[in-house]
């Protein structure tokens, strides 16, 4: 027995998506997930672990101590910044010219030499980093992607996403999409530049609090156009007492970047 619904259902096209589409779209989602895990979820995890390690067996008292400590430290950092303001360089602004080594380049800060180099992204890029720093592939198996002055312990990070002082990773989206801060971030500044002969955007973003990151966390990133992909170099204003130094380091690392032709 049929009714009009059966007639309509007979017109249904049961053609499904191709296997290639399923594979590619799923892979893109996982790449987005990896990117988010690396930049945000792991950050929270580390912050959480830092608090827990300080909290010990008396969480309420220790948490209060953490708040007081952080407040005092913030005040100290602020006062130190005031003291140094006269001879400190102005807040670093994104370069508007090609990020190539110049006198002083190759040094992220006084005493920091980019003497080591490694290859990452499955041979996609070679990049210099500070001597004595540690690198990890961030679980990608594609070579160095995460850099930090401390040994990287990625075992316990949330979502498998590592986080070091600097992350360099190929994103499976074009530059336009990669340079969109979305609702999770607001753009503080953004300029076009050239890195390793490729068009690039160098941007300073600040988290809005709409996603996993708390509001106000700054990130400084280079986004290098690789046609249908984008190479991202990023550092966050966490786990560092001197974000401007980190930015100068990232400038120097970007200047050293070489892409596999």
């Amino acid at each position: 027995m049929t009714d009009e619904l059966d007639h309509i259902r007979q017109l249904r096209d049961d053609r499904g998506p191709s296997r290639e589409w399923v594979h590619e779209t799923r892979s893109s989602l996982l790449e987005m997930a990896a990117e988010e895990a690396a930049s945000e979820a792991s950050l929270l995890d580390r912050l959480q672990r830092s608090v827990e390690s300080l909290a010990g067996p008396r969480p309420a008292l220790a948490a209060a101590a953490v708040v007081v400590t952080v407040t005092i430290l913030a005040g100290a950092v602020f006062m130190l910044a005031q003291d140094r303001s006269s001879d400190a360089p102005p807040v670093a602004t994104p370069p508007t010219t090609e990020a190539t080594p110049s006198p002083g380049a190759g040094e992220g800060s006084p005493g920091m030499t980019l003497a080591a180099s490694c290859t990452g992204g499955d041979g996609l890029f070679t990049i210099a980093y500070p001597e004595g720093w540690h690198t990890d592939d961030g679980g990608s198996g594609g070579g160095c992607e995460v850099f930090d002055e401390e040994p990287l312990n990625l075992e316990g990070s949330v979502g498998g996403g590592p986080l070091g002082a600097v992350t360099v990773r190929a994103l499976p989206v074009d530059l336009e999409m990669a340079a969109d801060p979305g609702r999770e971030n607001r753009e503080v500044s953004s300029e076009t530049t050239t890195v390793a002969g490729r068009s690039a955007v160098v941007a300073l973003w600040e988290s809005t609090g709409a996603a996993a990151l708390p509001e106000g966390v700054r990130s400084y990133r280079y986004l290098v156009d690789l046609d249908d992909r984008t190479l991202m170099l990023v550092t966050y204003d966490v786990d560092t007492s001197d974000f401007e130094e980190r930015r100068r380091l990232l400038d120097a690392m970007a200047a050293s970047l070489e892409l596999d032709p």
Binding site: E4, L11, D13, W21, E24, R26, L29, G160, G161
Partner: protein
């Protein structure tokens, strides 16, 4: 309701994905086929269907922080995103067509229609003609019900209208189709009546 072997609902998976973004792949695994078919039947162009269906999941991933975890099934949410994208696609295409018409008109060349959705590619049958005649606001709930197997409540959520409105629109649309069958296929119509 969509659940996995371990019984977790879509809402539970999305909640988990807030801490572990990779978990969102489970939502894709559960719903990619339905989303692709939905888009494909509305745009009728494989390349556009691929792009739009992928966009559904990209948007869903980015907006999952706003997902109302009281809803166990993510289907209405995903269909809602897909329906908006399809509408935007048709609007963009109409604008392109309009601009193309102007250019072609100035050049005096013939126009060629773009690929249409499944309905426009169907052979002329009473049911197809009846569906084509329906206004979109009545047709879409009916197709979500008949082609995409959504329940009334899920259609209401996807289209953001009250469930009573969904009921009346589907009732009206079915009546319209039945009337066509009545005229063109009296046997089928009488069978349909007999099944009431």
């Amino acid at each position: 309701m969509s659940t996995s072997d371990d019984g977790s609902t879509d809402a539970a998976v999305i909640a988990r994905s807030l801490g572990d973004p990779h978990a969102f792949a489970e939502i894709f695994d559960r719903h990619h086929d339905a989303m692709w078919k939905f888009v494909w039947t509305r745009v009728g162009d494989e390349e556009a269907a691929n792009d739009l269906a992928a966009e559904v999941f990209r948007i869903a991933f980015e907006q999952r922080h706003d997902y109302d975890l009281d809803y166990d099934s993510a289907k209405p949410w995903l269909f809602g995103i897909a329906a908006n994208l399809v509408r935007q696609h048709h609007r963009d295409r109409a604008r392109r067509d309009e601009a193309g018409e102007r250019i072609r008109g100035e050049r005096g060349t013939a126009t060629a229609p773009d690929p249409q959705g499944r309905l426009d590619r169907l052979d002329s049958t009473p049911v197809a003609e009846a569906l084509k005649e329906l206004p979109e606001r009545d047709r879409e709930p009916l197709l979500l019900y008949a082609w995409d197997d959504l329940a009334y409540e899920e259609i209401a959520d996807a289209l953001d209208v009250p469930v009573g409105t969904v009921r009346s629109r589907i009732h009206r649309a079915r009546k319209h189709v039945r009337r066509h069958l009545d005229v063109d296929e009296p046997d089928a119509a009488s069978r349909a009546e007999g099944s009431r």
